[in-house]
Symmetry: C2
Subunit: 142 residues, 2 copies
């Protein structure tokens, strides 16, 4: 199995509200699609999908109920501590939920967390060992 | 905020067992790292991390408890229905848990699901509208 990921799909309750958050708060551009009922954001190499949680669970064939920590975080790395601070500042003016303000962390970086309106966590981090290249990819990308 | 993802981190209970599953069942190669206690797999553009769930929750500052559907799926797209069938066949010989055998789906593709030992779902799919390019990236990658 080749070492790649094509989609990350988040199961959502309110597709329209989540689409608006990613477009209006993060400033991202969704893919144009004729399909109603699903939203795609093209990232570096893979696609982030938003899809109703009940339909996602049904597609897998598992119960849709779940509570508490989802055991997954997404991270967006930046190129300096100043970039991290600037992004947190900008998101705060847009009333994005700040879960943890950026701070120096034990592994040598500088990192904090935001949450989308349905509690998916995004870490915004400066990691001197994992600086995005010009295309936004992690170094060592084959 | 640039439209990119750097890390997907899965919170795990048994780091060693999960590392072995991704390396032995999927055949993936972890990054060499001096750090114990975390495992990285370099994908196309981003990195998949495995990290103890309790430490991940503590890093965010939220309770680690959670049950049921995690509202996230990861997908690995292939280039034909035959490739999907071949991969499911190969994984089955390695005793990977098949959650849903591949079948034709309403959006025009061919897709099934496997699960890792801690219940994270991977969709393995042929999607004629989202064929990986030669580098494994989704088409339209900017």
């Amino acid at each position: 199995m080749e070492q790649r990921i094509s989609f990350i799909t988040l199961g959502v309750d309110d597709l329209q509200a989540m689409k608006e958050w990613y477009t209006e708060k993060l400033g991202w551009t969704p893919e144009k699609t004729d399909s109603e009922g699903i939203v795609f954001f093209h990232l570096n190499g893979c696609i982030l999908g938003l899809y109703p949680a009940t339909e996602l669970a049904a597609d897998i064939g598992v119960p849709a109920a779940g509570t508490g920590f989802r055991r997954v975080t997404l991270a967006h790395n930046l190129r300096s501590e100043a970039e991290v601070d600037a992004l947190f500042g900008e998101l705060e003016t847009r009333n994005v939920q700040i879960v943890k303000r950026p701070e120096k962390v034990f592994w040598g970086g500088y990192s904090g967390y935001i949450a989308d309106p349905e509690g998916n966590y995004w870490e915004l981090a400066y990691n001197p060992f994992a600086l995005p290249d010009a295309a936004g990819n992690m170094p060592g990308h084959k």
